[in-house]
Symmetry: none
Subunit: 209 residues, 4 copies
DNA sequence: GGATAATCGAGACGGTACGTCAGGTCTTAGA
DNA sequence: TCTAAGACCTGACGTACCGTCTCGATTATCC
């Protein structure tokens, strides 16, 4: 997001000190005043940086926060390899849920998801630098399971990922329930249990059972 | 949201004409300039109302939009009673997906969900007047299925609802995939298939089948 | 400058309190920090008004100051009628010089003249609402003298006015000399001395002497 | 203003190329965007110089412009010696007026005079390096006339100079009238015509004539 | 019917933050 | 050690909306 492709340039170098102060101020402030109360002006004041320095490197307060989150909290989830789909999935969910249990991080993520709905350009950046990255991680687990033949025919891998991330985000955004151990069990069971392919037995056929 | 509990009062009556003009202006404007560009000032100007008239009846632009949506689009989903869990679920999903397919409505809902993340007070109103209402509708279907013994042991009814709404919202908020017929099939299959109790049969044991 | 030709308008009335507070703040601040240090932001802060309120009624800080000066200091010089050109001119100069002797007013006028050189639109307003007004006053005196036959043929009335205002402004802008009683005498003498009728001795004819 | 007192110094020599590029850019820009739109940043960009290079050698944009003007336009007026006060004065005025007739130069001079009102330090530099220099030129002419006995008793030489420069500057700053041949005639007549010393005939005594 | 009361459109008010611009300083790499 | 480049902090700009507060005009209810 803030890379300099050609590192050999004249002129003063970007101040790493300023960069870190800005990110730290953003994290602090969002905790104190909430995302709505977070302003570029406030971040500049708290960090001791000039507003222009922020505008030079980040296009919006959401980008600052996303960068801060990526720098501070470890947003990337390692791809587990436990030997079986069930175990991999369980490990992935455990790691993902741990992230969401930190209220600070959860609040910030909710805010970023919210901002992504409103700011079209940020939506792309948020997707590719956060959402898609985590989707890819789960995708690798699912691919591995498919080659091993551990994957039930329904739901399809894509839908399975949507179900997993869907339920996590829905709980964060729409309810106050935290994601807990129980949910992991239910998700693992729901997504690993073998079931017939769609269409082989129509809903109508199964109605009587 | 905008009810007057004691209708016998002196003074001029609330102008229904203004109310409708405001809601119409809100819908129009959000389509033209997006939610971020939607302002109370703009709604007032477009509708020919005074700003105070809006502030008198709605606490925020999100509330105006929610009201407008409830008035224009039919946000409430009828609770189907087709005789079986499978059929009821399918009917519910079909009705729900139809709503989300209207881009205008979907955009507005995304914006409201976003606003709910940022405005604490609106969050409560949005949950109780929209999210909870639809959750309750699905809850009735699930309850009925449970008493009929049609419900698989996993996931629990609460989690099942989270899965359903989770995947719908996740697709709206995080991906560009529309919700389609295919997803209905997968959801119905995933949530209706009878399965053994958790843990009795491991995925590994069933690998060969 | 800020008149409302149609006094019957809907909406809240302009706040006279704010207007006066703004003008007072402008006068105070220009005395404290000088014209270069005077800012709209500062005037707003000092007066307790919002910036928008200032921008609503005055197009620039120079206009605020001009208005303040016109309201506070009495910028208009009464047109004397002492019975003779000499006496009128002396009275006019005395009144004009008194204005320039107040350092506060003189500084502000210098600044406004300076601003007029840089801001094309303000130049017009400054000329018509200050410079031209005072030129007209002197013009009346000169006209009266001409009808009485008291006016020397050279310089012409227009040039006479330019000489009077020119020397005053030049001393204010380019030198540190104050305008004093002595200058009045010299100006009166230079502009009133009776000389032969026009044409009897042309400038060309006198060239050789 | 931009002198290098010790030409033998270690390090890279001052780039004459840069200096000329900066002055040229200043002249160009002030013509294109006006004095208000003229910025150090803009001059640096146009000239291909760094901002620091400008700040190193000139204290303000006005100084750059003054330097540019002195380098480009010939601001100094030669002191004529035509043998008589009348002829000298006429020659001086003709030369001075020629300068003000070049719109480019006139605009720049107006802007510098304006800047001098606002920037205290520049005021001193502008006076001594421009205003005083021209005043001295006229002073020599007047002195010569006095020793020759050609000078009328009123106005005094100092006031005469103020009248001359006052009317020129007043026309440039306050009116749109150009300085023309006619004004030369009037000024020469007004300042050469012999008249009694101030006080020998009081205004009251002359009232009846 | 006249007082009282709530509404309406309009628009000015004190504010906050925006995103931009330029100022003047400082740091880098290269000549 | 000077140069061009460019990042830095500072501070003001002019704008957009916010939510509140008069205004005068318009309905309504109640006495």
């Amino acid at each position: 997001m803030t890379d300099h492709p050609i590192p050999v340039r004249p002129g003063r170098k970007r101040s790493e000190e300023s960069r870190l102060a800005i990110l730290a101020a953003a994290i602090e402030l969002v905790g104190e005043v909430g995302y709505a109360g977070l302003t570029i002006e406030g971040i500049a004041a708290r960090s001791g940086a000039g507003k222009q320095t922020i505008y030079r490197w980040w296009p919006s307060k959401a980008d600052v926060l996303l960068d801060a989150l990526a720098t501070k909290a470890d947003l990337h989830v390692p791809i587990p390899d436990e030997g079986s789909y069930t175990a991999d999935l369980r490990a992935f969910l455990t790691a993902s849920f741990r992230l969401g249990r930190d209220q600070r991080v959860a609040d910030a993520l909710r805010a970023l998801m919210a901002h992504a709905q409103i700011d079209e350009e940020f939506r792309g950046r948020f997707r590719s630098s956060f959402l898609q990255r985590r989707r890819d991680a789960l995708g690798i687990i699912l691919d591995r399971a498919r080659t091993r033949g551990e994957l039930p025919p329904v739901p399809s891998p894509g839908t399975a990922a949507d179900l997993v991330f869907g339920v996590i985000w829905y709980r964060m955004l729409a309810t106050s329930q935290p994601v807990d151990e129980n949910l992991i069990d239910e998700l693992v069971t729901t997504l690993t249990e073998p079931r017939p392919a769609v269409g082989t037995s129509t809903p109508a056929a199964r109605k009587g059972t």
